[in-house]
């Protein structure tokens, strides 16, 4: 009896307050998705891993090369690439951020949260836009500073070492460097959104991560076994290869121009997200 009385009292208050709160708007859904993103421990850890990898994998090889510089062969010195070294961590970070993108959608399906989400926002598409907006912004705001820090830290380590009398460390004002470094952050952001689109289409974590890993790590080296004329014709247009053109400063053969490449990668991502939007609207949950 005690339980009943205790429970009934607040129940009455539901009726009394008849809250006159708002309706579903894109802004409200954005706020909701921001709460969702920051309230999962896995999000924080994965983002931290991505940033950590970007910076650590820039500084460590730079330090190793710097410490052995005096004894390195001229050939090794000539093939050493100070920019590539400082952006190498992006190869690891893209996995962390891409997987997080997949999880942002697939996690809703694997836990059943999607039923709550789409019951609250039955038009569904505002949820996709909000996830893209929130995750894209957070990734951008973290990965651009991360690539900048990686670059400056690596160059600081390399600074003072010379090749043919010239300092091997690059300056951010050297031609193409600022574009390549900031572009690395943009590239990571697009990888994250690509993963998000895959997660929304496949609705399954394992499938989403597999598709992402295939796109990033399996298909590009696979094309190396084709005759080089084929490889050279196809490879530049692969999503990740195209996107990584933004991080090149010497424009090697068989690569797209930096912004063309990144633009193409962004276009692929837009197509994936467009397909996700159509499926999201049509499929049963």
């Amino acid at each position: 009896m005690t339980t009943t009385t205790l429970a009934i009292a607040p129940a009455t208050s539901i009726a009394q307050r008849r809250s006159s709160t708002g309706r579903v708007t894109q802004l409200h859904v954005l706020r909701s998705e921001w709460t969702k993103l920051r309230s999962l421990r896995s999000t924080r850890y994965t983002l931290l891993a991505g940033i950590g990898a970007t910076i650590a994998f820039a500084v460590i090889p730079a330090a190793i090369n710097a410490s052995r510089w005096a004894t390195m062969s001229t050939h090794d010195k000539l093939t050493f690439h100070p920019l590539e070294t400082s952006l190498i961590g992006i190869n690891f970070a893209q996995l962390a951020i891409g997987v997080l993108g997949v999880l942002i959608m697939s996690g809703e399906y694997s836990t059943g949260m999607i039923r709550s989400t789409f019951s609250a926002v039955p038009k569904r598409l505002p949820v996709l836009w909000a996830k893209i907006g929130v995750f894209g912004t957070v990734t951008l705001l973290l990965s651009v500073p991360a690539t900048l820090i990686a670059f400056f830290a690596a160059q600081a380590v390399l600074s003072g070492h010379t090749l043919f009398g010239q300092n091997i460390a690059l300056s951010i004002s050297d031609p193409g460097v600022a574009r390549a470094v900031i572009g690395g952050g943009l590239y990571l952001t697009i990888v994250g959104l690509f993963g998000l689109g895959l997660g929304a289409i496949l609705r399954n974590t394992a499938a989403g991560i597999s598709a992402l890993a295939a796109m990033l790590f399996v298909i590009p080296p696979l094309l190396n076994v084709l005759p080089s004329s084929w490889d050279n014709a196809i490879s530049p247009y692969l999503p990740s290869t195209a996107g990584q053109a933004i991080m090149q400063i010497d424009h090697p053969a068989h690569t797209l121009a930096p912004w063309t490449g990144l633009g193409l990668f962004a276009a692929y991502t837009a197509i994936v997200i467009g397909a996700a939007a159509i499926l999201l609207k049509r499929r049963d949950v």
């Binding site: 339980t3 009943t4 429970a7 009934i8 607040p10 129940a11 009455t12 208050s13 539901i14 009726a15 307050r17 008849r18 809250s19 709160t21 708002g22 309706r23 579903v24 708007t25 409200h28 859904v29 706020r31 909701s32 998705e33 709460t35 969702k36 309230s39 999962l40 421990r41 896995s42 996690g107 809703e108 836990t111 059943g112 949260m113 999607i114 039923r115 709550s116 789409f118 019951s119 609250a120 926002v121 039955p122 038009k123 049509r282 049963d284 949950v285």
Partner: protein
Amino acid sequence: MIEIRQLTKRYGETVAVDDLTFTVKPGMVTGFLGPNGSGKSTTMRLILGLDAPSAGEVTVNGKRYADHRAPMHEVGALLEARSIHTGRSAFSHLLALAQTHGIPRSRVDEVIELVGLESVARKRAGGFSLGMGQRLGIGAALLGDPEVVMLDEPVNGLDPDGIRWIRDLMRQLAAEGRTVFLSSHLMSEMALTADHLIVIGRGRLIADVSVAEFIRRHSRNVVLVRSPDADELARIVAGPGVQVDVVEPGLIEVGGVTALEIGDQAAAHRLVLHELTPQQASLEEAFMSLTRDEVEYHGTSHNQQTHENEVLAA
């Protein structure tokens, strides 16, 4: 108010919901009853627009659910399947849902108190017991202070106190003029909570009646008679509307005649009675006999069916 018209849902070859038509009215508790797998959860998903109907339509307060600008104020739902991210705390879960409608944080705290989860609100929902998960789901359903409250098997995993709490809460919400729609596979639970019943089996409507009417119509009163002269007594009381079922030699079950009449008849014919016990068939039995044909997976139902036919023929 939930209005369902000729609603059909197919998943490939399987017909989960088959031409359902019914209305759930405000101001009362409507029980949605059916065996497991009869299409209750599918119907609820169709109401929320999570699944699209193959044919027919569903409206809530006059519009399709997705067409409402503030759907959480129209319908608050608890679905049978878990609908919570296991890595998130109860508070964050409710806050994220509230924010989609601009519902203030204070309402989230209020709902947490209402469902009695204050002590675990900041803990990961993944560690919740079934009962705590149900309470959190009910909290989410009540966040928007909705006109229609729709709960799928709400008493699942709740302890007796919790069951009583749900029952009182639902009756309270109905008394406030809201539409309350509860599914269950337990008739006994519905008899205590509901005013009206929608019974389905294999996706088809079997009954749309008030609980009082259902009880009147389906609870068969029988009298258990033990007598060495059971066979003769059976012949004497036989008549239109009277059913006699031989339980074992010397023990019969008589329906359609009161214990008083049987006793009088036995005395008039100088027959010995060892036992005369009026029995009320439970609502659960009535529900089971009603839905027996419609249950997807039978156990020994074939025999039961034959047995019942014999009883009716006797």
